[in-house]
Symmetry: C2
Subunit: 371 residues, 2 copies
C-alpha cells in the first residue's frame, strides 16, 4: 500500500495567514485604531473534552492583545516580532530551532536598555500563541525542537528527497526528526499491519534486535520517554493517513498511563494541537496491572507506589476519557495493589526475548488491549 501524502506543502497557506496578521494590524493603524491581535485563551478554563471526537480541545475564548496598554505593549511587540521571524524562515525554505529564533529576535531596542526578549521563556509562549491564533502548527512555521525517538519497520519514507527503507536501518534506526510534516517526510511503501509505540528506547532496542517488526509486519517506534511532538505527529499521520492501528506499550505506572493518555487524547497544556496530534484510536497494550497474574511476574520486580504515583493515579481515574469500565477496573486495581512495574520486569522471565516471543504476540492475538 502506498499512501498519498496529504499535506504536500502548506507553506503558501501559512505565509498567507502570517501576512493577514500583519495586514490587519497595519489596517488598524491606518484607521488610527489601537492595534491589537486576537489570541485564543490557553488556560485550563478554556479547555474541554470533546466526547464526540474523543480529544481534549481548546474552547472559543479569545483575548485581544493591544499595543496601547502598558501590560500588553511588550507582548504585542514580541508577537509581531515572532510572526515576522517565522515569515522569514518559511519564505527562505529553512527551518530553525526555538532557541535560534529567540537569539535571532533578541536585541536591545534603540535608545533604551530594554531587550526585545530577555529569556527564551518569553519567546516560546508567543510561538504557542501564534500556533493557536493562526491555526498553524509550530512545525509549519518552520520551527523545530529536539530530535527524539527512533523508528524501524515495514515502511519506506522519503525524507527531504532521500528514500529511507526502515526495513534496513540496522540496530540504530532512523532518528525521528522534530518536523515530520508531509512537505518534509513523505510516506512510500507501507506493508505494516500496525504501529507499535514503545515508551523506552531500551525496550525498543530489544524488540528491534529480535526483529519483532519483521515477524509481525509492523512499524516500531520509540519516543525516549514522553514522546516529543515529532513522534506524536508521526503517530497521527500513521493513524489518519495510513489508517494503521496504533498500539502503545508503556510501563505499568501512572506516568506510563499519562503517556498513553497524551498520545490518545492530547494534553491539557497543548489542547490547541490535539486535532492534529491526538490519536483517539490508539490502544493500550500494556503493561497492565492484571499482567502480573496473567504472566506470572514475580513480586520482587514490582515496586510500591509512592505518594506522587498515588496522587496521579487518582487524578487519571477522574479523567473523563478513562471512565470506561475496563479502565476504572485497571486503575482501581493498581491503587489497590499499590504496586507498579516497569517494562523491564518482563525480562525476569527465563527468556530475555519474552516480550517479543510471548507477551506481545499473545496480547495481540487475544486482543488483550484497552482503548
Amino acid at each position: 500500500m502506498a499512501v498519498k501524502t496529504r499535506t504536500k506543502s502548506t507553506d503558501r497557506e501559512v505565509l498567507n495567514r502570517l501576512a493577514k496578521l500583519g495586514e490587519d494590524v497595519a489596517a488598524q493603524i491606518k484607521r488610527s485604531r489601537d492595534p491589537a491581535v486576537e489570541i485564543p485563551v490557553r488556560s485550563l478554563a478554556n479547555v474541554r473534552f470533546d466526547e464526540r471526537r474523543s480529544i481534549i480541545e481548546l474552547g472559543d475564548q479569545t483575548q485581544a492583545r493591544n499595543f496601547f496598554n502598558v501590560g500588553m505593549a511588550k507582548k504585542f511587540m514580541q508577537t509581531l516580532l515572532v510572526a515576522a521571524g517565522c515569515k522569514e524562515f518559511v519564505e527562505s525554505g529553512k527551518t530553525t530551532s526555538l532557541r535560534d529564533l529567540y537569539y535571532r529576535l533578541k536585541h536591545t531596542m534603540t535608545d533604551s536598555d530594554e531587550n526585545t526578549f530577555d529569556e527564551q521563556e518569553e519567546s516560546d509562549p508567543i510561538i504557542e500563541d501564534l500556533e493557536v491564533a493562526l491555526d498553524t502548527l509550530r512545525e509549519e512555521l518552520h520551527l523545530f525542537a529536539s530530535n527524539k525517538g527512533a523508528m524501524v519497520g515495514n515502511i519506506t519514507l522519503i525524507d527531504s528527497g532521500d528514500t529511507i527503507d526502515c526495513r534496513r536501518q540496522g540496530s540504530g534506526g532512523w532518528s525521528v526528526p522534530s518536523i515530520v510534516e508531509g512537505n518534509v517526510i513523505e510516506f512510500g511503501k507501507i506493508d505494516a499491519a500496525f504501529v507499535l509505540f514503545v515508551e523506552k528506547d531500551a525496550v525498543w532496542r530489544r524488540l528491534n534486535e529480535d526483529k519483532f517488526w519483521k515477524k509481525h509486519a509492523c512499524i516500531l517506534i520509540h519516543g525516549g520517554g514522553q514522546p516529543a511532538r515529532g513522534v506524536r505527529r508521526l503517530l497521527w499521520r500513521f493513524a489518519v493517513e495510513a489508517k494503521l492501528p496504533v498500539y502503545v506499550f508503556v510501563d505499568n505506572d501512572p506516568w506510563g498511563l499519562y503517556i498513553y493518555s497524551v498520545i490518545k487524547q492530547g494534553s491539557i497544556n497543548l489542547a490547541y494541537e490535539s486535532s492534529r496530534m491526538a490519536v483517539p484510536s490508539a490502544r493500550f497494550i500494556g503493561l497492565s496491572t492484571f499482567d502480573r497474574e496473567a504472566f506470572d511476574i514475580p513480586r520482587d520486580v514490582c515496586i510500591r507506589l509512592n505518594d506522587e504515583d498515588r496522587r496521579r493515579a487518582k487524578q487519571i481515574l477522574e479523567y473523563p476519557w478513562f471512565q470506561k469500565k475496563a479502565w476504572q477496573k485497571e486503575l482501581t486495581q493498581m491503587l489497590r495493589d499499590d504496586l507498579k512495574m516497569e517494562l523491564e520486569a518482563l525480562s525476569t522471565k527465563r527468556n530475555i526475548s519474552f516480550m517479543s516471543d510471548e507477551y506481545l504476540p499473545q496480547k495481540l492475538k487475544k486482543k488483550e488491549w484497552l482503548d
Copy 2:
C-alpha cells in the same frame, strides 16, 4: 577508502575472560581459600594523566573483594551474579540494557528477606568494576544504555547486516545506537575528509539542512549534549580505524569545554575506558571567546557567567591537558570577559546559515582551532 574493521568479533575473547574469573574463584574454593576477585580501584587517587598518550588513565591499584568479609560478601556475590548474567547474554548473542540486567538478576534469596539487588544503583557500579577487572567494555559484555545522537555524512555503515548510506538519511539521520562495536557496526565506504561533532542537535539539524557535510565532504554527528558512550566510541573508531581528524563544535562556556575535554582526554569518573574512548587528536573548532570580536557577535546575545561557570572555568584552567599557552589564553579571556555564548548566538547574523556558509568554512580554511 574502505576501512577494515578491527574488532570483528571479540565475543569469544570476552567469554574466555568471564570464564577465567569464575574458574579462579572455583579454584580458590577447591583449595579451601577465602574466594576473592581482584578489582582495580576506581577512585580519584588512582587516576592520572598520561602525558605521553595524552589521556586520563587509571593507575595500578587494585583491591581484593572477598567472600568471607561482612563488608564485602554481598558485593562479592553481586559481582559473580553480574558476571554470570553477562556470560549468558554474550553466549546467546543478544544485548540488553543496564536496567534489564538489574531486573534479570534481582530476586529474593532463598530462606531470607534479602534481595540480590535492591536498586539499579547497586548493579551499575558492579558492571563498571567488571569492565575494569576484565579489561572489557560494557558494550562488549552486550550491555547497552540509551541511544543518543544522530549521524549523516559521507560514510556507509553496515549495521547488523543492513547497509546504511549516511549520505541518504534525510533530515532525521541514522540514530546512533548505544553499542557501536565492530561486530555490530562495520565501516563501509568513507569519502570524508574529517568528522564534525556538534554538541547540540538543533545545530546539527541546521548544518544537515544546509548539506554542510556534502559541501565539505565530512561526517556530521551530534550527541544531544554530553555525548553518550556510543557516540564517543564511534568518534574513537573514526579517529583510530579510519584515521580521520575529529573537530568538536560546542557552546562557548565551561560546559562546552568540558564536553571537548571528555571527548579528547576521557573523564575522571570513567578513566578506565579512556584508552578506548578518548580521542587525543580531537580539535576544538569553537565557539572560542575570541570569536566574539573576530565574527562581530553582538553583546546582547552573550550571557554573563554564573558562579558555577566561573568555578568550572577555573577548574579547567588547572587541568594538566589545558596547560598549552593558547588554552590558557582562551580560558583566562573567558574569565576576564565574564561572558559565555551559545552556538545559536551565531544565528543573530543576517543569514541563518551563517555557521554553515561562513563561520565553519573560515575556521577550517584558516586552521583556527585549538588542540
